[in-house]
């Protein structure tokens, strides 16, 4: 009996050891170098393979670490501070940034390194009005452990800066940070370009976007003849706008898409889903390091990819080859960066069935540090 028990025990140990070695060999991919580096420094033998919130008491007591994965790749890791619902309400990008940034700071452990990182990232961290490093605010570990969730949280942003505030009895924690893509995403240009590329490769357009809302006369400005303009936003210069062009027919206003007005038609294509069905973009994605993959994508799928977080502005004219050419700017509503698309097509081809529009796409162009772009 003793032999049987011993044998069973040995067998269990062997099974556990072999499964552990299999897990060790399993390669976990990360969306960025930063996440990979953080994972290495976490006192964890394995990084979870599915979305997980777990406590790591040897690292921080009473708080959990959150892991999000997409397609077996770790896309987010941070000190868990927000529920999924809160993130959706406030903005997942910013919430994930706050979670990740606090984890990054905690991983640094010593005060000098934390102060240095905050300085380099132009971030101010204050507890009850005192900057990190001051007498009453020298241990971030302690402060984070003492925060009892849920706390009152608010987020303000104006222009290129934001401020996050956590408030509970006797505690007022503030973080003031600049709003730029690299800091918020934690990715460099190459990683972000790849991210946009992967997003576009799987982009789909919900059919509900096919139809646009009707416009009424009161919202239109008369331009010329039977052409009217629905005024939109302007980006940097007055000719780059999200103005949409309408035509009056029998007392109704239709979005223009007719060979009679090729420029207005082309322009409208990027500001509405109405006439985009059946049209394809042949995109050359000009990424970091002269990497220029080409792919085709239905026009509306491309536009749908940026529908929530970006303002779209465009301008259409004729290029030197006398083709219609549209410059389209996708400006992120909060973070200070744009994507830029230059599309060109022969005037006649625009109106045939299933036309292919050639385009160059430049992604993740920062805007936050430009002092005089138009000098």
């Amino acid at each position: 009996m003793r032999r049987i028990l011993l044998g069973t025990f040995v067998a269990i140990i062997l099974i556990l050891l072999s499964s552990a070695s299999i897990m060790k060999e399993e390669h976990r991919a990360f969306a960025s170098h930063k996440l990979e580096d953080m994972a290495k420094r976490l006192p964890l033998r394995d990084i979870p393979s599915v979305d997980t919130i777990m406590e790591v008491p040897e690292f921080i007591k009473g708080k959990a670490i959150v892991f999000n994965l997409n397609n077996n790749k770790v896309v987010h890791m941070g000190l868990s501070m927000f529920s999924r619902e809160t993130k959706e309400m406030i903005g997942t990008d910013i919430c994930n940034f706050l979670e990740r940034y606090f984890l990054e700071l905690l991983l640094l452990r010593d005060k000098t390194s934390i102060i240095r990182k905050l300085t380099e990232d132009h971030i101010e961290l204050l507890l009850n009005g005192q900057k990190f490093g001051a007498e009453n605010f020298s241990s971030l570990q302690e402060v984070m452990q003492n925060i009892c969730m849920p706390v009152n949280f608010s987020l303000f942003h104006k222009d290129q800066h934001a401020e996050a505030v956590w408030m509970s009895v006797g505690m007022h924690l503030q973080m003031k940070f600049p709003l730029y893509r690299e800091l918020i995403d934690g990715m460099d240009k190459k990683e972000s370009d790849e991210g946009v590329y992967n997003l576009l490769r799987v982009a789909v357009c919900d059919s509900i976007y096919d139809a646009d809302d009707d416009v009424s006369y009161e919202n239109l400005v008369h331009k010329t003849g039977n052409v009217y303009v629905y005024k939109g936003e302007t980006f940097m210069i007055k000719s780059l706008t999200s103005d949409r062009y309408y035509m009056e027919e029998n007392g109704k206003y239709h979005l223009i898409f007719t060979p009679m007005y090729p420029e207005y038609s082309m322009n409208n294509l990027f500001l509405s889903y109405q006439n985009g069905a059946g049209k394809t973009l042949l995109v050359t994605h000009r990424q970091y390091g002269y990497f220029t993959p080409e792919f085709t994508i239905p026009l509306n799928n491309f536009l749908a990819c940026f529908k929530n977080d970006f303002l779209v502005a465009c301008h259409t004219g004729y290029n030197k080859q006398n083709e219609l050419e549209t410059i389209v700017v996708f400006k992120h509503k909060i973070l200070n960066y744009i994507h830029l698309l230059r599309v060109h097509v022969n005037k006649e081809e625009l109106f045939i069935n299933s036309p292919v529009l050639k385009a160059d796409f430049y992604s993740n162009i920062p805007q936050h540090y430009i002092s005089s772009l138009l000098k």
Binding site: M236, S239, S371
Partner: protein
């Protein structure tokens, strides 16, 4: 004396100059106010010239504008030779602007007599500044330069290039850095040194700094960078400010000035980087010149005119084409 009387008689009939705004203002009251203020201003000038006095313009000008007018009047009285002026009103960040208002500078010689005034107005339509306009066609030329989508597109592509370039340092990507420098690139690095202290004790405390420039070849620069990459665990290069200027004649050459923060494991500095970028091959721009200068010298931020710019380099096109 006779000629002066004759010229004054000629202007007498123009006392009642009238300004009409034809476009650019939807607010009727504001339009009326701006029209009235500029009209009153011009009438006051005409009357002052007729009477040999100073114009009475208290109510329609801010105190700053009154100072401008006083200074201009001292140089030369002016009058408006046109009875009705129709102009558009432009919106500015601080208020409004009306351009192209014709005036005669009484003290100027024949060639310089006919000028145009620009009125800057407050949000409520009070005249806030008056200046002599640059020639209208020149103004349009400048505005057109600043407002073309093509130019904006090019500049955004340059910012994209700059961001790729910066990223390459963070990634320690020597291959990319090599690929963006022309083989003949001129690379200048600045180094701050302290001038050898004078034996005099008082002078020693000043110990002024100066910049010593070194010229490097692309190969030398890359070899040096390789050592820097190897000796630093991490590198974080940040550009705080970017200015993009197109060469006035060689339009595919751009000057880009960057304020660079270099953070590495064992070294940190802040300086100005100037890049001359050649966009002849738009899809593969090349850096022809790179300079670095410290942000501060003797505790003061380097003056902008001391930072290298496009004008500091003679461009020989055949060399650029290499």
């Amino acid at each position: 004396m006779f000629s002066l009387l004759f010229s004054l008689a000629g202007y007498a009939q123009l006392e009642q100059t009238k300004v009409v705004i034809t476009d650019g203002l939807e607010n009727g009251d504001l339009k009326k106010s701006i029209e009235q203020n500029i009209t009153d201003f011009l009438v006051a000038c005409n009357e002052a010239v007729m009477n040999g006095e100073k114009p009475d313009v208290k109510d329609m000008l801010t105190s700053d504008a009154r100072k401008s007018l006083k200074a201009m009047w001292k140089t030369s009285p002016m009058s408006c030779p046109v009875s009705k002026i129709e102009e558009i009103c432009l919106k500015t960040p601080n208020g409004y602007q009306v351009r192209n208002i014709p005036i005669t500078m009484m003290a100027a010689d024949e060639e310089g007599k006919d000028q145009e005034l620009v009125f800057n107005l407050t949000q409520t339509g009070i005249i806030d500044d008056i200046s002599i306009a640059i020639e209208e066609n020149k103004y349009k030329e400048i505005m057109a330069e600043h407002e073309t989508v093509e130019d904006l597109f090019r500049r955004q592509v340059i910012v994209d290039f700059v961001e790729n370039y910066r990223t390459s340092y963070n990634r320690k990507d020597l291959k990319y850095i090599e690929s963006v420098f022309s083989d003949n690139a001129l690379i200048i690095t600045g180094k701050v040194i302290r001038v050898k202290p004078n034996s005099d004790y008082a002078m020693r405390s000043l110990s002024p700094e100066k910049i010593v420039y070194q010229k490097r070849t692309k190969a030398e620069y890359i070899a040096n960078l390789k050592k820097v990459f190897a000796s630093n665990k991490y590198l974080n290069v940040v550009f705080d400010e970017v200015e993009v200027i197109q060469h006035p004649k060689l339009t595919d050459i751009y000057g880009v000035t960057l304020k660079q923060e270099w953070n590495s494991s064992n070294y940190r500095d802040v300086g100005f980087v100037f890049l001359m970028i050649d966009f002849q091959d738009e899809l593969h721009p090349l850096i022809q010149v790179r300079t670095w200068q410290p942000e501060k010298l003797n505790g003061k931020i380097l003056a902008r005119d001391e930072v290298f710019n496009l004008g500091d380099f003679d461009i020989v096109r055949s060399l650029v084409n290499d």
